[in-house]
Symmetry: C2
Subunit: 267 residues, 2 copies
Amino acid sequence: MKVYFVSDGTAITAEVFGSAMLSFFEVDIITKSVPFLSTKDQANGLKQQIDLEVEQGASVLVFYTISDQSISDIVQSCQCHCYNVFGDMLSPIEQALGVKAQPSAQKAHGMKAGVYDGRIDAINYALANDDGASIKNFDQADIILLGVSRSGKTPTSLYLAMQYGIRAANYPITEDDFSSAGLPKVLKLHKKKLFGLTIDPQRLHEIRTGRMAQSKYASFRQCRYEIEEVESLYRQERIPSLNSTTLSVEEISTKVMAEMNLERHRQ
Amino acid sequence: MKVYFVSDGTAITAEVFGSAMLSFFEVDIITKSVPFLSTKDQANGLKQQIDLEVEQGASVLVFYTISDQSISDIVQSCQCHCYNVFGDMLSPIEQALGVKAQPSAQKAHGMKAGVYDGRIDAINYALANDDGASIKNFDQADIILLGVSRSGKTPTSLYLAMQYGIRAANYPITEDDFSSAGLPKVLKLHKKKLFGLTIDPQRLHEIRTGRMAQSKYASFRQCRYEIEEVESLYRQERIPSLNSTTLSVEEISTKVMAEMNLERHRQ
């Protein structure tokens, strides 16, 4: 099964919607995104290509989001199953809102033209405050992620910044922190912002081995020791925490936000 | 208008779809995401809250993706306009595929349980190769972004890694590079991977001023000089390029991928 995600914009909506839709089905799929399709010539070119593939026996699906009616008509005329992602939902929503849809008003994903993206500031913040790099900025943090090395702090911080403009610092918990009683001083001041990540020792061992095989750092024994200590620290200090072992970055991030009552602002 | 994005998972699909849908309308909107709704009790709690808001005169919309029928029935019974995001599209797609939808087969966004996410490697790669930090890894790059300081290289590299698992290095073009003729040596070896970002001098001046006001670095004169030089370098060396001034990170990233024929693998 070949699936096209076609759009006059980034095609992200068609991708996210189409992929979610297809995840209900146990079929092998090859996907192809066709963004920024903005002329009839381009649409006709795509139609020719798809129709040829269908003639040659391929099974093809198309998910599309296109504002211009004459262009979307061409895509819809492909000799395969074509789904207008916004399809039949626009008119009931028009009724609910009591406002006419205006294709031209459709804003792109992300920032509006000319407005500097608050997410960029959040990304810069995450980078500057990665791995405990600059603890003096913790008062500006929306959240401070804790965890041992390779438990998922950095990707989570970056995802929170990128998708939701959240300022996430992160602080690596190391052996030094276990020897002293309680939380490192720098964290005590910001206790309400703390969230702990943890991970199964076996998984941590595998990840660290991928980076530094045969080291003490990657050994199962060391991983187990660090995880036991860090989990006991979370319990002792009543820090909310999450085991990231089987979760995607998206799942970790959205669970952390829910737990910490951080509002999502998709920008 | 208050809009809820409700899901038994991350709610990302409901957010992306609902936000794209609502962008057709010129209405003021407050959004609230309700992820990981997995019990009837939670659904009834949400229904009570929404029904109360509606009674008190609020105008409410709900977009939801929920697999369990008895839970989705509760959400659907809220006293407001409720839209099942997958709604009526599942059964035509079942017919097209000749396969029954299996709600339980629905995979979460991102990686499958237990499989280490290739995107994490790409994020680590982007971080290690940010700002020309480690030019010796350029042979592993899928793409190398060029541009003067603050023209959008880092957020774009991270987005490409996070969403598509693409290994994007980036290399800052500085005054030193202008004085010598042609491309820096380290880049010549990887010419096919190069992509240039540029930006309007006035916008660059504003962004840099936000970081280092009153500096030569941020001055309009300096920004204009650097942009003229870098654009002339792109032309001279026939490096494909893009002006990022009015574009979101999503738009920059998807345009770069289209231009460089990088396949998108939403994982």
